[in-house]
Symmetry: C2
């Protein structure tokens, strides 16, 4: 295992455990057993390190989402993944995608299941917007305490299933 991958490993662990504000070059260095400046012998800068984490998240998503064959199952999988990896999910979705730092195809791989489960690109994007919006508001603590988030998901998914499967049911 290359040193870079080892650094990404401990950075991911650090991020998932303690959140994005704990993802510090010095903290990563300590966890990997070196001083912060030495990290720069293996990683050009922090942005590229974060891009590596984002790439891992996208491929992990692609694997999980591919198992969901229906719109409802995919929505459940999407929410579930985000709740299992809240800090990574936020790192992945806050800020623009560093596409030039990502291995090619990884973005499409994560998006493919959405396309498979809806009828068109526009429908896939709208569903993505719904799912991302709901989970993003949930993770950011924007809903009032005690809000019935499940009900919002049910309503949203119902609206989409009514539309996207119309006339396509076998």
């Amino acid at each position: 295992m290359s040193r870079r991958e080892q650094i990404l490993d401990v950075a991911l662990e650090l991020l998932e455990r303690d959140g994005v504000q704990a993802l510090t070059m010095r903290a990563i260095g300590e966890a990997v057993g070196m001083r912060a400046p030495s990290l720069y012998k293996h990683v050009p800068d922090k942005q590229s390190l974060e891009a590596g984490l984002i790439a891992r998240g996208l491929t992990a998503q692609a694997q999980v989402f591919a198992r969901a064959k229906t719109l409802t199952a995919l929505a459940r999988a999407y929410r579930g993944w985000a709740r299992e990896h809240p800090h990574l999910y936020r790192l992945m979705t806050d800020g623009p995608l560093p596409r030039d730092l990502l291995p090619p195809g990884v973005e499409d791989a994560a998006a493919a299941p959405l396309l498979a489960v809806t009828g068109s690109v526009a429908q896939a994007r709208a569903l993505w917007g719904l799912a991302h919006g709901l989970i993003s508001l949930e993770l950011a603590g924007r809903f009032p305490p005690g809000a019935d988030v499940d009900a919002a998901w049910r309503v949203g998914i119902a609206a989409f299933t009514a539309t996207t499967t119309k006339g396509r049911t076998p």
Copy 2:
């Protein structure tokens, strides 16, 4: 005009013009004509200053959204406001709402039009999720360049109008 409001004024201008990474205590101080530490004579800390900006954003949203009488008009207004104030919108939606630092009622005021235009709280939250998700992905540059974001909005809104206005049309 109190000094605090003046500080909020220039902070808001700074944020909307140069983005959140330019919203620095030193930069605010310079723009308002004093050194950064002197700001603390008028504002307890940066978090409260940001809460002031968020409160302004919420009341501005409440005023604009209240004019939208249909679901479609509200969605258009929501997207339009966010695109006119992208940095403020992101400041308002990234991170949890500092409810204890906000004037009471301002959160509800901004949310009320969503409730008025849908049938239930769950529908309002689902629609909010859709709108927030789409604009958030758009502002973060997550859609591929050249993506037809308008089409995604049309599809999403269509899904919701089909559901929420069912049986309620006059």
